[in-house]
């Protein structure tokens, strides 16, 4: 089954053009490939779905920041403002909390971040809410470096894509309020900006998996196939007791090696259509597993959200509107491609 949205004559023309480009020289081939990769218009639907999921996770994260705002961002919190330089790169890692001189100001700052995340979720004033959401995330993370972890890295990755792309062009209040003449809520004109944004998330995600996998190669337990036990036996992470696996070392071995191979191979094998489904399915399994067994559900959901950048718009449309898609003809769906590769 094809995973890309079947764009107009994409396969035939692109293969031929690659050869044509190569005839014109190696450099021209690279330029053509680069332009095709980044600047082919794409359906913005996956970006809109990513926006909603990111907005929900970010809003929840903002609420949790607010639960103990003085400890996270206050002068007498976990880390005094004059000590932040010890853990991040001052003055470049800016934060609006550095200007907050009172508990009220801290709550106003956190409240602005929460409001922006909610607006981002519903898609109201989306370009502005995406920028403010990113500023809120960066402010919180840079002010409280003792308290951040992979969730914040992933939300940052997603928000940069949402700032760049037209994530409010469908499935949004912006779309709804923009007038009835724009067609159904899930439809929007394919655009280069949507493609650039999705590509940025895809490439960044591959960088994350590459370095995460490469870092594991430094550890003996990953080579020995015992690393997963280290996560299972760690009582500070445990939310699902899997210690019964102690009697099944080969299962632990297989799971460890599968995780390592998946992470290392992801940057290469998520692109071909043949292997993409397998790698995305493994991503869902690994991240849900981390969420359920280690209590990091927000991180797991954020990583799965980032993986949605590889999901073709047609498939997302099928999941969201299984009946309406059958009613509509091909001509009524956006003609842009989803940014896959081969």
């Amino acid at each position: 089954m094809r995973m890309n949205h079947p764009g107009p004559d994409r396969s035939e023309s692109t293969t031929g053009s690659a050869e044509a480009a190569l005839d014109g020289g190696w450099c021209r081939g690279w330029v053509a490939a680069w332009n095709s990769f980044w600047f082919t218009p794409a359906d913005p639907l996956p970006l809109a779905v990513i926006r909603i999921a990111t907005g929900l996770i970010l809003a929840w994260s903002c609420l949790v920041w607010l639960l103990d705002a003085d400890a996270f961002f206050g002068d007498r919190g976990w880390m005094a403002p004059d000590q932040v330089w010890r853990m991040n790169d001052q003055p470049w890692q800016w934060s609006w909390y550095f200007k907050a001189s009172s508990p009220t100001m801290i709550r106003v700052g956190a409240g602005v971040g929460l409001a922006a995340a909610i607006l981002l979720t519903v898609g109201l004033a989306t370009p502005l809410s995406a920028v403010v959401s990113l500023a809120g995330l960066v402010s919180a993370a840079n002010r409280a470096p003792l308290n951040v972890f992979g969730l914040d890295d992933t939300l940052g990755l997603l928000l940069i894509g949402l700032v760049v792309g037209p994530s409010g062009s469908c499935l949004s209040l912006d779309r709804l309020l923009g007038g009835a003449g724009q067609g159904r809520a899930e439809e929007a004109t394919p655009s280069v900006r949507a493609n650039v944004a999705l590509r940025m998330i895809q490439v960044h995600l591959c960088v994350v998996y590459f370095f995460s996998g490469a870092g594991k190669l430094l550890g003996a337990s990953w080579w020995e196939g015992t690393a997963l036990w280290g996560a299972i036996a760690n009582d500070l992470y445990r939310t699902l007791d899997l210690r019964s696996l102690a009697g099944h070392p080969l299962v632990i071995n297989a799971l460890t090696l599968a995780t390592l191979f998946w992470e290392l191979a992801y940057p290469a094998l998520v692109w071909p259509r043949l292997t993409r489904r397998l790698f995305l399915a493994m991503a869902v399994a690994v991240h849900l597993g981390i969420g359920v067994a280690m209590g990091m559900m927000e991180f797991g959901l954020a990583m799965i959200t980032a993986n949605l950048a590889f999901a073709p718009a047609a498939a997302i449309r099928r999941w969201l509107w299984p009946l309406s898609l059958r009613r509509t003809s091909d001509s009524s769906t956006p003609s842009g491609t989803s940014p896959g590769f081969s």
Binding site: A18, A21, D89, Q93
Partner: protein, 204 residues
């Protein structure tokens, strides 16, 4: 191999429908800067890290800092190690003793709040060398972890209203499968991180 890539012609209608050549050139420049800012940080740290990547990263520090891109992405690497918590024992104004731990799964809810507090103990413990490390290593490391522990102490004193607080780091023993099967009794390693009181001029 390159010929197997399915790419569109540079001047194909699909590409030109969007952006002009000038716009694509400008976007390409911006994307290359962004790509460099994404790839260099994990090469530049944590250790082992590349000196070249670290030097190349210098001019990009404003961008990396502003967009929160400075990550190593080495999740559970090189090996998933033992977890760490902080134990605190506080003397209250009436002379009573109060104690607790960071993180505390029983009280730190929701789970995301627990994780945000868990990171405090994990990041501080990462700076504390093993008890058998040479004295000069211990002393150097103390200059890094002590200001952070002091911040934790001040936060606890503010929250609980105490006079002084003693803080220990606990390395939770990571049992191997055989120890779990035999239900072996194991003990955690506790390292003292000092006792802290309100300093002059910083009373609650």
């Amino acid at each position: 191999m390159t010929s197997h890539l399915r790419i569109s012609r540079d001047n194909s209608p699909a590409i030109h429908r969007g952006w002009s050549a000038a716009a694509r050139t400008a976007a390409t420049a911006a994307l290359l800067v962004w790509l460099t800012a994404v790839i260099l940080p994990p090469l530049a740290g944590p250790a082992p890290a590349s000196e070249l990547a670290s030097r190349m990263l210098q001019p990009l520090r404003p961008l990396v800092g502003a967009l929160f891109l400075g990550h190593g992405y080495r999740f559970f690497a090189p090996n998933p190690g033992p977890g760490h918590s902080l134990l605190w024992t506080m003397t209250m104004p009436d002379g009573s003793i109060r104690s607790g731990r960071i993180p505390d799964a029983a009280t730190d809810r929701p789970r995301l709040l627990y994780h945000r507090r868990f990171m405090v103990s994990e990041k501080i413990a990462a700076l504390v060398p093993p008890a058998d490390a040479p004295a000069d290593v211990q002393e150097r490391a103390k200059r890094d972890w002590q200001p952070l522990v002091k911040g934790v102490a001040m936060n606890l004193l503010r929250r609980e209203g105490g006079l002084s607080v003693r803080i220990d780091t606990v390395e939770h023993y990571l049992p191997d499968p055989a120890e779990v099967i035999s239900a072996a009794v194991t003990s955690d390693a506790v390292s003292p991180l000092g006792t802290y009181a309100w300093s002059e001029g910083s009373a609650p």
